[in-house]
C-alpha cells in the first residue's frame, strides 16, 4: 500500500486517533454495569478496611439496656445506632462493617484456593490432553455430581463447626469446578498457538511454557471466574453461617446476623432486611464486575 492511500484512508475514515488507555477507560466508564459494580464494591472494600476506625461502636460490646433499637429512619430510631441494635444490644452498623471483612476475606481466600486447584487441573488437562484430560475431566464430572452445600455442611459438622479458616478451606476445596472447566477449554484453544509452538522450538521446559507463556494468556478468563466464585463463596458462607455450621457467634458474619434475627423478623423485619440487603449488594457488585470484565474481554465489547 502506498503512503498516499494510507493518509487518505485516515482522512476519509474520519476517526480521531485515540490512545489505547483512553479507549479502555472509555469502555470501562461506558459500561454501566461495570462502573456501578466496581463503585459499590470499592465502597464496601474501603469501609471494611477502615472498619476499626469508622465503626461507631465495638461490634462485640453487649448492652442489655439498648436491645433491639430500630434503625434511624424508624420512629424510635436514634442517630447513635444508625442501623439499630440486635437482641444483645450490639450496634448493627458496627457489626455490618466488621462482617464485610469476614465476607470479603472468606470470598477472596476461598476463591484463591479453588482457583489454584481448578487452574492447575484445567491447564494440565487442556495442555496434555489424551489420558490426562480424560482422568481430570472425570474428576470434574464427579465433583459436579457432589451436592456442594450438603457436603460442606456435613464436613463442617464433622470438623466440629466453623472458624473462618475452616470455612475458607472447605469452600476452597469444593468450588474449583468452574476454574477447571474454563482453564481447560482456554488452554485447549491456546495449545496450538504460535507463541506456544515457538517456545517449544527454543527448548523451553513444559513448566516454563505453562507458567510463563500460557498462564498470562488465560488469566483474564480466570479473573472473570474468580469474581463469580468469590460471589458464590460469599453466598455459601452466609448460608453455612445461617444454618449454624459456618462462622460461629459472636463473630459478626452477615449470615449469622440473619440467623440470629430470624426469631424477631415477624415484628422487626429490619433485623433480617439490613444484613440481607447488604449481602445482596456485595454479591451484586461482584457479579456486575465479573460480567463487566467478561464483556471487556470479549473481542468487540459492548457498545
Amino acid at each position: 500500500m502506498s503512503e498516499s492511500t494510507l493518509s487518505l484512508n485516515a482522512a476519509t475514515s474520519g476517526l480521531p486517533v485515540v490512545p489505547e488507555w483512553r479507549r479502555i477507560m472509555n469502555r470501562v466508564v461506558g459500561h454501566r454495569g461495570l462502573l456501578l459494580g466496581s463503585s459499590i464494591l470499592g465502597v464496601i472494600v474501603v469501609l471494611a478496611l477502615l472498619a476499626p476506625w469508622i465503626a461507631p461502636h465495638d461490634p462485640f460490646a453487649q448492652n442489655i439496656s439498648q436491645r433491639m433499637i430500630p434503625p434511624v429512619w424508624h420512629d424510635k430510631g436514634t442517630w447513635d445506632h444508625i442501623f439499630g441494635t440486635d437482641k444483645l444490644g450490639r450496634d448493627y452498623l458496627s457489626r455490618l462493617l466488621y462482617g464485610a471483612r469476614i465476607s470479603l476475606s472468606i470470598g477472596l481466600l476461598a476463591a484463591l484456593i479453588s482457583g489454584l486447584i481448578g487452574t492447575t487441573l484445567g491447564v494440565l488437562a487442556g495442555y496434555f490432553g489424551g489420558r490426562v484430560d480424560a482422568v481430570i475431566s472425570y474428576i470434574i464430572t464427579t465433583r459436579l455430581a457432589l451436592p456442594v452445600l450438603l457436603v460442606a455442611l456435613a464436613m463442617a459438622s464433622l470438623v466440629g463447626g466453623g472458624s473462618v479458616e475452616t470455612v475458607v478451606v472447605l469452600l476452597g476445596l469444593l468450588l474449583w469446578d468452574r476454574f477447571a472447566v474454563v482453564a481447560r477449554s482456554t488452554t485447549q484453544q491456546l495449545r496450538e498457538a504460535e507463541f506456544i509452538a515457538s517456545a517449544k522450538v527454543i527448548g523451553a521446559s513444559t513448566s516454563y511454557i505453562l507458567i510463563r507463556e500460557l498462564l498470562p494468556n488465560i488469566l483474564s478468563a480466570l479473573i472473570v471466574v474468580m469474581t463469580l466464585e468469590m460471589a458464590h463463596a460469599i453466598l455459601l458462607e452466609a448460608t453455612l453461617s445461617f444454618l449454624g455450621l459456618g462462622v460461629q457467634a459472636p463473630m459478626p458474619s452477615w449470615g449469622l446476623m440473619i440467623s440470629e434475627g430470624k426469631s424477631y423478623m415477624f415484628f422487626k423485619p429490619w433485623v433480617i432486611a439490613i444484613p440481607g440487603i447488604t449481602l445482596m449488594l456485595l454479591v451484586l457488585a461482584i457479579n456486575l464486575v465479573g460480567d463487566g470484565l467478561r464483556d471487556m474481554n470479549a473481542p468487540e465489547g459492548r457498545n
Binding site: A145, P147, V151, L153, A238, F266, L279, V283, N287
Partner: protein
C-alpha cells in the same frame, strides 16, 4: 442413539460409584465418627464400644465395601438418631422434595423462558434492561434470606399462605418460589443469549425472506433452536435445587430429604448423611444424562449420530 445412551449410562454409573467413594471418604476423614456419635460427654470406653458396634474399627476400605454391598441391595443401614432404616426414612421423605423440586423447576421455566424471549426480541429496550436487572439482583440474593422475606411478606403480613409445613398444596407455594427463583436468572440469561444468537443466524434470515409472520419466525424457527441448551441447563438446575432444598426445607420446615439431611448432619447421624449425599448425586447424574438424551432428541444433528 442406543450406543450413545449406553455409553453415557456406563459413564454415569462409574461416576456414581466414584461419588459414593468420595463422599464416604470425605466423611471418614473429616473427623472421628465414633467420637461424634458418642457425643462430647462420653467416656473412652463408650467411644470404643460404639466403634465396635458400628464396625468403625475395621479398615475404611472394608467399611466402604460393606456399605456399598448393602447399598446396592437397597440397604443403607440404620439411622442412629431416628432408630429406623435409612431406606424407609428416605422413601418417606423423598416425595416432598421431588414435588418441591418439580414445582420449582416448572415455575422457573415458566418465568425464565418467556422473559428471556421477550428480552431478546426487545433487545436494548427498557424491557430487556428490566429483565437483566431482575436476573442480576436475583442471582445476588441469598436463597435463605429470600425465603425469610417471602414468609414475612406473604405469610405474616398478608396471611395469604402458610409459613411452614407440608400438608396442603398451599404449603408448597412459597418454598417453590424461593427455590425456583434460584434457577430463574441463569435460565433467563441463557434463553436471552440463545435467542439473540439464533435471531442473528442465517436461517432466521432465510425464514424472514420467505415472508413468514414474525410469530412464526420467532416461535417456530428461533425458539426451537434457542431452547435446546436451556433444556440441558434446566435438568442440571433441578439437580442443584435438590441439593439446595436443604436450606429451603429447613426454613419452611418441610419434611423432605433436605430437612432429613439437616437433622442428620446436626446429630452426626452419618449413615443418613451418606445416603442422602449419594442419592442427590445420583439424581444429578441421572438428570444430566436425561439432559443429554433430551438434547439429542431435540437436535436432529445429534440424533443421527
Amino acid at each position: 442413539m442406543l450406543v450413545f445412551i449406553f455409553r453415557r449410562l456406563l459413564v454415569a454409573f462409574s461416576v456414581a460409584i466414584t461419588v459414593s467413594i468420595v463422599s464416604f471418604m470425605l466423611l471418614h476423614f473429616s473427623g472421628d465418627l465414633a467420637v461424634s456419635i458418642a457425643g462430647p460427654d462420653s467416656t473412652a470406653e463408650q467411644v470404643e464400644q460404639i466403634r465396635i458396634d458400628f464396625g468403625l474399627d475395621k479398615p475404611v476400605v472394608f467399611q466402604y465395601f460393606d456399605w456399598v454391598w448393602s447399598a446396592l441391595q437397597g440397604d443403607f443401614g440404620r439411622s442412629y438418631y431416628f432408630q429406623d432404616s435409612v431406606m424407609s426414612l428416605i422413601t418417606e421423605r423423598m416425595p416432598v422434595t421431588l414435588t418441591l423440586g418439580a414445582v420449582s423447576l416448572a415455575l422457573a421455566t415458566v418465568v425464565a423462558i418467556p422473559l428471556g424471549v421477550i428480552a431478546a426480541i426487545k433487545q436494548d429496550t427498557w424491557v430487556d434492561r428490566l429483565a437483566l436487572t431482575i436476573a442480576c439482583v436475583g442471582q445476588a440474593m441469598p436463597s435463605f434470606w429470600f425465603a425469610l422475606t417471602l414468609i414475612v411478606i406473604f405469610a405474616v403480613n398478608l396471611h395469604w399462605l402458610p409459613a411452614g409445613g407440608s400438608s396442603t398444596w398451599q404449603h408448597f407455594v412459597l418454598p417453590a418460589i424461593a427455590l425456583g427463583y434460584y434457577a430463574t436468572p441463569a435460565m433467563m440469561r441463557l434463553t436471552r443469549t440463545g435467542m439473540l444468537e439464533v435471531l442473528g443466524s442465517d436461517y432466521i434470515r432465510t425464514a424472514r425472506s420467505k415472508g413468514l409472520s414474525e410469530t412464526s419466525v420467532i416461535f417456530k424457527h428461533a425458539l426451537r433452536n434457542a431452547v435446546i441448551p436451556v433444556v440441558a441447563l434446566a435438568a442440571v438446575e433441578l439437580g442443584f435445587m435438590l441439593g439446595g432444598s436443604i436450606v429451603i426445607e429447613s426454613v419452611f420446615s418441610l419434611k423432605g430429604l433436605g430437612q432429613l439431611a439437616w437433622d442428620a448432619i446436626s446429630r452426626n447421624d452419618y449413615p443418613v448423611v451418606q445416603a442422602v449425599v449419594l442419592i442427590i448425586a445420583v439424581f444429578y447424574i441421572v438428570l444430566t444424562l436425561l439432559a443429554d438424551v433430551l438434547n439429542a432428541m431435540l437436535d436432529p444433528r445429534l440424533r443421527v449420530r
